[in-house]
């Protein structure tokens, strides 16, 4: 068994599309089930290093430790859910070709411990995202895709610059060797590399000075696909960025800078959401806000906070899947995602799903978001950073304002259309809601795993 199957099999499925053109949706489900099987197989063998194509540290290295296992299983779960959820869409071969490759790109980003290989997977994931953005083939979609491609190209140029500077000065591409040699480099070059990485990954992780484009892209993207961007893509980039940072063992001021950026990002995003009149954009801003919290928490280098952040990543992915998929149903009926359209639908089921998603994101018990936020706040309190605790709570109040405004708008206004949710969708969405409730009531098993994962993340990649 080889870790490379996580990458090779989805790509193979996409390459062979001409042989089963009309059945690709079933093939995608099978591929994702197969990948889930691989993940289950590797669970008892953690942690694991594998050299690809050459049995020596000179070759590309894949690493499956606790934290990458966490992300790998999360992404496979999301993609399996997505392919099952859209299994009835006959005329959507194109989506599945791209999402299969998207899966392998995201998994490659997580598994690879070789910086140039990470760049390749970075590009694979980004290009699938550009194509998915332009999928609607209208003016709006294309203008979104063009904007996305311009910022994405700038991001990959700066990432490439960082990689080149590292190779020029250290001579190695493996993360562990780079981590071992990073502090022997000249101080100026170190900061240059960090700045280039920050610009490259900052654009992709949608962090403050570099995230002015995000809401536009989410608005242009088909709603279900926007869920994937929120649940998979940004998380993959986030993980890689912090994986590299902890491996390089950057000094405290740099981490403090990231904490400040995260807090600012959270605040600005929630305030923008308050102003917005389009539900899709509101969800995009809410994603930005949560990513700000994650940035803030992941840069703390504290095991409790980071384990809370990992828990929050899982909860946020599930909640955003629920919200975007339900919004997709609303959009199909009302032909709009404006707040007025959102206020006009009638469906007790969808209303419940929205309510659960909002409450979980806000961190209200008994939903899983509560546990995540509680862990993060507890960690910050134990570090003595009460200012951050207060700030997070205050900004969460803003978040609560617009979520409750949306819900009450739907409660109060006159209903124009009744939405009947198909059975498959009903089952899938209820499963997500139950998962959130379950994790909120019995979080201990997952929390323990998150603590192990957080330790691995903070430790970074060690020299093999």
């Amino acid at each position: 068994m080889s870790l490379v199957y996580f990458i090779a099999i989805p790509i193979l499925a996409s390459f062979l599309t001409p042989f089963y053109k009309n059945y690709l949706r079933f093939v995608s489900v099978l591929v994702n089930i197969l990948l889930a099987g691989f993940a289950a197989f590797f669970y008892s063998r953690l942690p694991l290093n594998e050299f690809i194509s050459l049995d020596s540290p000179l070759s590309i290295i894949f690493i499956l430790d606790y934290v990458s296992f966490f992300f790998v299983s999360l992404f496979i779960g999301v993609m399996l859910f997505f392919s099952l959820y859209s299994i009835k869409e006959k005329n959507n071969t194109a989506v599945f070709v791209v999402t299969n490759i998207f899966t392998s790109g995201a998994l490659g980003l997580i598994l690879s411990a070789d910086i140039f290989n990470i760049y390749i997977f970075f590009e694979i994931a980004s290009i699938s995202a550009y194509i998915l953005t332009g999928l609607n083939r209208d003016k709006v979609a294309y203008s979104g895709a063009i904007k996305y491609m311009i910022v994405g190209a700038v991001a990959s140029i700066f990432l490439l610059l960082g990689i080149m500077l590292m190779y020029l000065n250290l001579g190695y591409l493996t993360l562990s060797s780079i981590g071992a040699g990073f502090h022997t480099m000249d101080k100026g070059i170190q900061y240059l590399v960090l700045l280039s990485l920050f610009i490259g990954f900052g654009i992709k992780t949608e962090i403050l000075p570099l995230n002015f484009w995000v809401a536009d892209i989410y608005q242009a993207t088909p709603t279900k696909i926007a869920a994937l961007f929120s649940a998979v893509l940004s998380k993959a980039y986030l993980f890689v960025f912090f994986h590299i940072l902890y491996t390089l063992k950057v000094d405290a001021p740099a981490l403090l800078f990231l904490t400040a950026i995260g807090l600012l990002s959270f605040a600005v995003a929630e305030l923008s959401a308050l102003r917005s009149k389009d539900v899709k954009r509101i969800f995009a801003y809410s994603t930005l806000g949560q990513l700000g919290v994650l940035f803030l928490a992941l840069s703390s280098a504290n095991v409790v906070v980071v384990s809370g952040a990992l828990f929050l990543i899982l909860v946020h992915s599930i909640s955003k899947l629920m919200l975007f998929f339900s919004l997709d149903l609303v959009e199909k009926k009302m032909h709009s995602t404006r707040v007025e359209a959102f206020a006009g639908f009638r469906s007790a089921f969808l209303f419940t799903i929205f309510a659960i998603g909002f409450l979980s994101l806000l961190g209200i018990p008994p939903f899983a978001g509560f546990i995540a936020k509680l862990t993060i706040l507890k960690g910050f309190a134990s570090m003595g950073a009460y200012g951050i605790v207060g700030a997070i709570l205050a900004i969460s109040l803003v978040e609560a304002t617009y979520f409750f405004r949306l819900l009450s708008a739907n409660q109060r206004s006159k209903k124009t259309a009744e939405i009947k949710v198909p059975l498959l969708q009903k089952i899938m969405l209820s499963l997500l809601a139950l998962a959130i409730l379950y994790l909120g009531l019995f979080p201990q098993g997952l929390l323990d795993f998150c603590t192990d994962a957080a330790q691995t993340l903070i430790q970074g990649v060690i020299h093999v």
């Binding site: 290009i127 550009y130 063009i146 491609m149 311009i150 020029l168 536009d216 102003r275």
Partner: protein, 128 residues
């Protein structure tokens, strides 16, 4: 005089100054130009400047290409590092793939809207 021109450190300085000048020209183009074609041309220029920088910085005077051909019998330290060349090879192909995709988007967008100016792309944003 000509001796100093042939020294590796001098060449590296030329490569660094030259390629970062081109890099800056390209980036300024990306930021200041409004025509979408111009933006993508500038992005390609920026990318090429990085390739020149990387390959040039790995070259040292007197080193041969990493290929065993007539005259050279063995792989050793008298050859340039093959890894940067392989990396750039990969990146050039990726670059052209992305470029073709983005130009298709531009052409399709033009067909639907008749517009090619980035400042006039106002389909997205808060609707009043």
């Amino acid at each position: 005089m000509l001796e100093t021109l042939n020294q590796t450190t001098f060449l590296h300085t030329v490569v660094a100054i030259g390629s970062f000048t081109i890099f800056t020209i390209g980036l300024v183009g990306v930021l200041s130009k409004k025509n979408l074609f111009k933006i993508f041309l500038s992005l390609s220029i920026v990318e090429s400047s990085l390739f020149l920088f990387f390959i040039g910085s790995h070259f040292e005077v007197g080193k041969a290409a990493p290929i065993v051909a007539d005259g050279i019998k063995l792989f050793d330290g008298h050859m340039v590092d093959p890894v940067p060349q392989a990396m750039i090879l990969t990146t050039i192909v990726i670059g052209v793939a992305v470029l073709a995709l983005s130009l298709t988007f531009v052409v399709n967008y033009y067909r639907l809207s008749g517009n090619i100016d980035i400042d006039k792309m106002d389909e997205l944003g808060e609707v009043q």
